[in-house]
């Protein structure tokens, strides 16, 4: 079982809280967005007591500035396959198990981009992922990150976008054809976290928009799983964390504690690979 943590930390010095999450939730692979913590500081903090110790997983040429990865697995197991400013794709080749493709992104924000811009860019992102899957010869892919889009938005749902669907059963059909072109599904388990029908907070990011349409809770932080990896993933192994194992990441009103932590809540998920 490999445990992953993704967290957008809003450029805050949260290394001690991250260490608590890593220790308390036994994280193997730590993926950070908006991190300004230097690798030196992160390693010194993470490795105070860690056994095995964490490694800074550097990309091939240091091109992906928006995502930082640390892991108990050594650098040699993460083979850099594609890097851009906002996307990193690594082949995770652990001894004795089938390789998987780990993609992590920090997608452009709604602060600067319209929904149509995000949709257009999601098509480019999806094309890149498909191209890399062809290069590596498999679709054992997970895509995790801050998408800055909700699971119901066109960029996440559209066939030529990320094609993330809300049920495992639909995703298990592998792909669907639109205008004679085949598009692979991603399973998007984040749909189940909306509102009060599930345990925990109603999303990963809270924003009270002043205009007419406000969702209040959003799920910008998502993990998408290709059908070929579904046998390795159980929905019960995915959580939106509300504490670091010792202290809450929420305010007394149940909203992300921006002052003490981040405006995003972390995602924790496991793969039985």
């Amino acid at each position: 079982m490999v445990t992953f943590l993704f967290w957008n930390i809003k450029a805050k010095p949260l290394e001690n809280r991250i260490r608590r999450i890593v220790v308390n939730y036994e994280v193997d692979v730590l993926i950070l967005a908006e991190s300004e913590i230097t690798p030196y500081q992160m390693l010194v903090t993470l490795n105070q007591q860690a056994d095995p110790m964490f490694h800074h997983i550097q990309d091939r040429i240091g091109e992906c500035e928006k995502i930082a990865i640390y892991s108990k697995f050594q650098n040699e197991y993460f083979i850099s396959q594609y890097e851009s400013n906002r996307l990193t794709m690594r082949r995770l080749k652990l001894p004795g198990i089938d390789e998987l493709l780990l993609a992590a992104t920090h997608f452009p924000s709604k602060l600067w981009w319209e929904g149509d811009d995000q949709f257009a860019e999601s098509i480019v992102l999806a094309q890149t992922i498909r191209q890399i899957e062809e290069e590596v010869g498999h679709t054992r892919t997970i895509l995790v990150g801050d998408f800055n889009m909700n699971p119901f938005e066109k960029g996440v749902v559209a066939a030529n976008g990320l094609h993330g669907v809300m049920t495992r059963k639909v995703a298990q059909n592998q792909s669907r054809r639109v205008e004679q072109k085949e598009y692979s599904f991603f399973y998007n388990p984040m749909w189940g976290f909306f509102g009060d029908g599930s345990e925990g907070p109603a999303g990963t990011y809270y924003y009270r928009h002043s205009g007419h349409v406000s969702y209040f809770w959003n799920i910008f932080d998502q993990v998408l799983i290709r059908p070929d990896l579904l046998p390795s993933f159980r929905n019960s192994d995915l959580a939106v964390l509300t504490d670091d194992g010792d202290e809450s990441l929420l305010t007394s009103h149940g909203l992300p504690d921006v002052a003490g932590a981040s405006d995003h809540l972390p995602l924790l998920f496991k793969l039985d690979i």
Binding site: P39, Y40, V44
Partner: protein
């Protein structure tokens, strides 16, 4: 009619019956792992083998600073015959040593790792990673 396979191989080559042999590479890998523990993986060491030709294997002991875009510094190199583990030639900072036994190899290695140059390179990599 049942046939039996004629197995002419000795049982001493069965993988689970082989004795533990400490190779120069396994000693280097152990030291590489210990460096990471001492520097909290801010400076790591990697051990890379290459075919040196004429049936010889060359092994580099590299220092790696992941925070410096994986900057690599070859600290020293050893060479030995692909089958015979000893003698081993060690090449470090324009100096060469030969070890005819594991004990001699460890002795030379100890001197290289404790050398002022080694300490200075590691300290420099840590200082640059910190900034």
């Amino acid at each position: 009619m049942e046939t039996t396979t004629l197995d002419l191989w000795p049982t001493s080559i069965d993988i689970d019956k082989l004795p533990d042999i400490t190779t120069p590479i396994s000693i280097l890998k152990e030291q590489a792992s210990l460096l990471g523990q001492k520097t909290k993986n801010i400076v790591e060491a990697e051990v890379k083998s290459t075919d040196a030709g004429n049936g010889r294997i060359s092994v580099s002991f590299n220092l790696v600073a992941p925070a410096l875009n994986k900057y690599r510094y070859q600290l020293f190199q050893i060479t030995h015959h692909g089958i015979e583990l000893y003698p081993v030639g060690l090449s470090f900072s324009n100096r060469s040593y030969t070890a005819n036994s594991p004990e001699q190899f460890i002795e030379h290695l100890k001197k290289i790792l404790a050398d002022e140059k080694t300490k200075s390179v590691i300290q420099s990599l840590i200082a640059q990673s910190r900034s």
